[in-house]
Symmetry: C2
């Protein structure tokens, strides 16, 4: 295994509906074969026009929107709603987000984040000739750990999960833990150079294991079906 | 924000109780001021002698050990036990692990992983003159997402959580999501160059935000108190 580099892609303009993210990224990041590009949900949602008006003076306005974006509410406490989205994500406030969005607007999650990742991948390929992996990331809390981390909500051209079943450890014993969520780990790694208070909504992750660069899908690989869920 | 590098530290010998991890790492990784060294729980537990005999022919032997290492069992399904450890971690099988350990032995979590990280940090400082941040990582599943990711179970000289409260986004609005778990993100990033089937139990993360290099504690910052827990 050799070194991996996490390279921020900064200096993007404020993104508006209809903007071509792939073009804006390609202009700023000289891509190489094997790169994975991580793009935050916020700019993807803006480019896709997933913005809705909310009444900032009415606290119920945000809450109604969160309920509308949820298929199931798991828990409520104070202003926090933990719910399941149409995509099968379980997260706070159904991913409805007010930060880094103009006052009076809220950003919804992309309709199909795997598809969003494919669009960006296709756009990058057309402009640069490089078939990069693409991950759309968002910031989620965790059940039993404080603080938030970035995870993958969509991917294309990169594995979501790498299955090590059948491989053996350094002592020749079969591994117990076999399914590693590389897409979430790549999203978390990229966040280290992005940050929430800076205008760095994308990063290049260079040097990942080439075997991870295959067709991938967050929906098909990461979203846990309620039937195998112990906590819903 | 500039580039971050994830550098694997390979070629460590098989670790035995009493081995000096800081020395073995310092010999293999030329450290620089500002580096964070991530070390997997497995080698920390081995060096600290946290190995116990189990009867591999008796399936109940592992299960009894898991129960003994748990203060509370949250869920059971088949061979899987999700429980809370003495440290307050909620994870599969109380962190008791059989992979990468000799047959007939199981590795328990370190007694105090923040202290383990401090010991390694002190050892690295004595040997190299560099006050590196240190994170002890382990591999955890997640409630609603398939696949495992590496998280921090102990840290020293690096923040576990960075609180962005009071900071504003690129549009001048106060951030909603304020507590970022940088230690877990650093652990996940490091796993990308370590892998479970290779003998790479440590990595250097070079180039993190210098403001993160302060006293940190997984126990005090990340472990969620049951009183603020919606799912226990």
């Amino acid at each position: 295994m050799s070194t991996i580099q996490l390279i921020p892609i900064g200096d993007l303009p404020e993104i508006a509906p209809g903007d071509n993210l792939a073009e804006l990224i390609a202009e700023r990041a000289p891509l190489m074969e094997g790169d994975v590009v991580v793009v935050t949900q916020k700019v993807v949602s803006k480019a896709e026009g997933r913005l809705v008006a909310i009444d900032a003076t009415d606290p119920l306005s945000h809450k109604r929107l969160v309920e509308q974006e949820s298929v199931r509410v798991l828990r409520r406490r104070g202003d926090l709603i933990v719910s399941e989205t149409r995509h099968g994500f379980v997260c706070a406030n159904a991913g409805v987000d007010l930060s880094n969005v103009e006052a009076g607007l809220a950003a919804l999650l992309p309709v199909d984040p795997d598809r969003s990742a494919r669009w960006i991948r296709d756009g990058l390929l057309a402009r640069t000739g490089v078939a990069a992996g693409v991950i759309v990331s968002d910031t989620f809390g965790r059940t039993w750990r404080r603080g938030v981390v970035d995870v993958a909500i969509g991917c294309a051209g990169v594995a979501a999960i790498v299955d090590l079943r059948g491989t053996v450890d350094a002592l020749g014993r079969e591994l117990q833990v076999t399914e590693v969520c590389v897409a979430d780990q790549i999203a978390s790694a990229a966040e280290l150079v992005m940050g929430k208070a800076r205008r760095v909504p994308a990063a290049v992750v260079r040097g990942v294991d080439p075997s991870w660069l295959r067709d991938g899908s967050v929906r098909d690989e990461i979203v846990r079906h309620p039937s195998e869920d112990l906590f819903r």
